[in-house]
Amino acid sequence: MNSNAATTSTNDNNNNSSSNHPTPLSPPTIREYDHILLHFADHRQIFAQAVPKHKRPGIGASGGGGIGGGVGGAAPHHPCKINKRSYATHNLIGLPYGTVLEVGRDGKLVPLPEGEDLLPKSDIFLMNNDDGNNNNNNNNNNNNNNNNNNNNNNNNNNNNNNNNNNNNNNNAEDDDDEEEENNNDDEGDDTMPTSNDNDATTTTTTTTTTTTASTNSITTPTDNRNLIDDNTSQRLTHTCVDLLKTSTSGSNIVAALISNSATFSTKTKYSQAKYVTRKQMKYQIRCRIVQVTPYTMCAAMHSKDARKLANLRDDTLGRILSNANVHAGQFVLVADDAVQGIISSSCVKRMGGYGTVMGLYPGKFVPGYVDVTAGRMNYSLRERQMLRWISLGEVFGNTSSNETNYSTFTSSTSATTSNNIVDIEKRDREKISWPAPLQSHTRQYITNDLKTEHKINVFLEKRSARFTRKLTRYSLLELRELIGNCRNEKEVYLLDGKVNEGGGGKVEMAEEEEEEEEEEIVAEGSSDRMVDDDGPPREDDKRQCDALIIATKYDPTTTLFGLLPYLAPSCPFVVYSEFLEPLLRTFHALQNYYVPQEEGDQADNINADDDTNDNIIIPDAVGTKKPPPMMQRRNIAINLRLTDSWFREYQVLEGRTHPNMSMSQNGGYILAGTKLCPLTGTNELDDNVMKAMRAKFGGRRRQQSGNTTKRGGGVRPAKRKKVEK
């Protein structure tokens, strides 16, 4: 994530100046305690953290820490671990993102100068191809000589190879960057066929020269016809390589391996390139510092353990955010326990500190993944502030015992909490006055028990950090009120004809109330209500959420129906699942939602044997029961789309363009839709009336029983014309 964007959002002055863009933006740099990603040439992606040498007391927690559940946590013991070896990261602080690091043998990450790529520039293999076969013969001779020397002295051997093999490749290291660049320009027709990884090529060939190169490459004189794969082509033994590892640099090892490979010179140009790449990836390990963004983070977590992330591929995450219309300033409700909280963390970044994200977690305590996932995003304070974690129990909990209290609590304004519930957390918080003077017993403790100045300092800093956390953390009751305010209590979506354990009576009441309100709204709408609507928001504004995203390991149908009352009408919802089948049920339940019809209303018209009633089957979760006759179908959502995506990456190199050999088979399934207005989105006309009308106008084909694939509303296309003013 762009740290600059984050900082500008905290600084309005900066912001204004940046919109005039007078000066080039400096590259974003790594700050203390920033989490970073290291991308390797072999597609490994490793998380790390830039931890300074001298840790600041108290920052571990408060640096990432806390509003509504601790985000961050203490600095890790191993800020960076590569190949089971830990590396210090304090030297990375201040480096610009995008810098390439060389993983040194001495436990250090060495930053390389700008222009270096993940694979070292190396023209070892270009030499072999300069004059085709002639050069190859030379190399063979060299190799034979080297073989004789091999057992005597590895280092010497190595140097010989370099001298013999490479006319101007002194060490293939950073020293002679310029020279190599020139080289490439001179020999522009030799494309650098480094690897099947797109990142790898650093060619500076122009488009005109590459076309000639491709024609050359087709007529490469060498091929594999004489290749004998008997595992004896490499003359350097395992122990030799180990010795080299301790004594010399990675580039020398690669050179030695190449010169001691009997088959290298007989390989085609492309397979030589592949060979070099493989050896470089093993012995000259490099990585690039990459910002932790929703995309890179999801990709890294997915590549490490896709199951842990419920198979959520990075492009699917992007699609979820787009489909849910997530943008700055919104109220977003996210239940994403199945995907380690990555969706809510990504929403925060997408919204950049404007608005509120309510992350729903299962259980009594904020789960650990929250710290890990959200902590890695390098939030600014604004961003941390907008993410609030609320228990799913606030939505689904059986609040029957204290429901009355609850409702009075929510309906009353925030200041007057209900008599029954005293918000101790809030009360304590309001007692704290900022610089937090010492209380007498603390003062006593410090003077009596803490001996050294250092200990006192550490104690005080930790204490202050604790107070900042306390002061900026919402109490559980405040969070309950926050989510309670999102709910439209008149809306109840029930499955199986029951709300929790409440029974049908309650539902009918709810329905009746809705109908009443409908009239109200229509009346209001026709009068001057809409003028008021532009005015300032009213005090009692209960704000429903603007987007709802669900990716839980719980039943998606129940979860969605429970959370729909929190979503404002005409707002999108997205349900993600690793599996297709649960979403089928959700889809079906949304499409075939039935409510009891108002009593006495055309009950006689509905005949149990009428074929329209075949349609009235409450969906699968609901089972398979035939509904009571007085049920009316209702559209609660529209624009339902059940999708998954197919995602393929390509190797694009001149003459060697093809899809990558392996690709992801599936990135998870998404059910997206738009909630309709619960009052007027209903199908208010009775099915029989509709039928009669259809018969009269002949407008529509008869509904086929059991056909559930019909989407949306409206009559099938016949002719389109649009008259628009």
Binding site: S9, G63, G318, W434, T468, M530, G713, E724
Partner: protein, 467 residues
């Protein structure tokens, strides 16, 4: 659209917390109290500046919780008002849009719908037609970039939803960024970008077709997004100036003059191309202030764009300019339907210092949900010709095709009636139904190859000065 509206500020918990920098003697002169204040200041810095707390002392003025108000959009308008953009959802495949205008009528195959009926209704409601006794209906939805992309008038091929979501995600577009887009086309992608960079970002979008520029400007203004976007009438590839330069170079070579002073030649070229452009454009469009001067490039300065999106027929021509305009470590995306374009683009990207070049392609697969009943295979046997059946057949023929009913069959029929009436059996029958996903028979087979890359950290010179 919603995201274009100004934010509301509220005093959140942080702003109320009173955390700020305090004077070291705030609590008194006791050394311990001074230490307490110092620790409090340190903690305040850590909290309010986070990882930036080690940065320069100029940011110390930011250590005041009252600066950290919570910002959010006002609640979305529930009711449709005059001049609002409303997405008209006719059916799954037919979306349309209207600007709610009093006394206007929207007509489609389902009937006539009066805008007066729309105004004052909540978004997400259902409207019945005025004619046909209300048989036809449609839904009115609040516009989102996705719905807009499906309903907008196509001026060009648009970037579809899936690609748009990936581009926004991979370019890591966030609020308050500066983004460049070329070309504007129908504006579908522009809306998706604008959504991500609101409320204080800026989208510079470039289009070389004059008519599309004007239509896009009008659209953005109508959607309340004018403050977020600047529509430039310009060809970022600068093909005109490239052609001019080439022509000039050729003529120069022919006459074999001015070879020594290349710089003078190049400035002369650009000057001349300007002249010729203004001449050309005078004939094309009249009284226009922001003429395409024929020079390529984004012309907003060096290293300022956080991200660049290219949807051009020849993106490689724009990449030198993009390398100049993009900020260090910024992301770029090129959208090309053809592999040949992609190849040349990748080569150009690498040439101009971009790294992490990645070409991907994605397709959307959709599913119907069917409730299917799978019955057990039928157990009926074919009738084998025996003496008995033969005689029955004979009888049937003489009877005029009607088979006389046996007692058994009569009984069975009665049973069938009984079964049909039995609710329980029906239930059992129903219970064989299961929900099945049926993939759409057709899908969009190809839209484009998306090439993503990240700019290097070195700033690049303006290629316009090097022609």
């Amino acid at each position: 659209m919603d995201f274009g509206r100004p934010m509301i500020q509220t005093r959140g918990i942080v702003a109320k917390s009173n955390i700020r920098l305090v004077d070291e003697t705030h609590l008194g002169d006791d050394p311990l109290d001074i230490q307490v204040c110092r620790a409090a200041n340190e903690a305040a810095k850590n909290l309010l500046l986070g990882n930036d707390s080690t940065s320069s002392s100029s940011s110390l003025e930011l250590v005041d919780c009252s600066l950290y108000n919570e910002q959010h959009l006002p609640p979305a308008r529930r009711l449709i008002q005059p001049d609002d953009l409303v997405v008209v959802f006719e059916s799954f495949n037919d979306l349309n849009f209207v600007y709610a205008t009093p006394n206007a009528i929207f007509s489609n195959r389902n009937g006539h719908f009066h805008h007066n009926d729309f105004i004052g209704k909540p978004y997400g409601c259902k409207i019945r037609s005025k004619n046909n006794e209300g048989l036809g209906f449609l839904y009115l939805l609040r516009p989102t970039p996705e719905l807009w992309a499906r309903s907008l008038p196509h001026r060009t091929q648009i970037v579809h939803e899936l690609d748009a979501s990936m581009i926004v995600h991979y370019l890591n577009l966030c609020p308050d960024m500066i983004v460049c887009e070329s070309g504007t086309g129908s504006g579908a992608m522009s809306h998706a970008i604008l959504r991500s960079i609101a409320p204080h970002g800026k989208l510079h979008t470039y289009e070389f077709n004059k008519m599309r520029v004007e239509k896009a400007r009008k659209e953005f203004e109508g959607h309340g997004l004018k403050h977020l976007v600047e529509v430039h009438h310009r060809d970022v590839c600068g093909k005109k100036s490239l052609l001019e330069a080439k022509k000039k170079r050729d003529s120069d070579e022919k006459s074999e003059e001015a070879n020594d002073e290349t710089y003078a030649a190049s400035t002369e070229t650009s000057a001349r191309s300007d002249d010729s452009d203004s001449n050309n454009l005078d004939t094309d469009n009249n009284n226009d202030n922001d003429d395409d001067d024929g020079m390529g490039g984004f012309q907003i300065g060096q290293g300022v764009a956080h991200a660049i999106f290219l949807d051009l027929p020849e993106p490689w021509l724009a990449i030198p300019h993009a390398a100049h305009t993009i900020r260090p470590n910024g992301n770029i995306c090129s959208y090309s339907p053809c592999m040949e374009q992609t190849q040349r683009t990748c080569a150009a990207l690498r040439q101009y210092g971009f790294h992490s070049v990645r070409t991907v392609e994605a397709r959307l697969m959709e599913y119907f949900v069917d409730e299917v009943e799978f019955e057990a295979p039928p157990t009926d046997l074919p009738v084998i010709l025996t003496e008995e059946t033969a005689s029955m057949e004979k009888e049937r023929c003489t009877n005029g095709g009607v088979l006389p009913k046996t007692d058994e069959q009569n009984n069975e029929e009665e049973e069938e009636v009984a079964v049909a009436n039995d609710h329980a059996t029906k239930k059992r029958k129903v219970s064989n139904k299961m929900l099945c996903a049926r993939p759409f028979p057709q899908m969009r087979g190809h839209t484009a190859f998306l090439t993503f890359a990240t700019a290097g950290n070195a700033l690049r010179p303006d290629p316009n000065n090097q022609i």
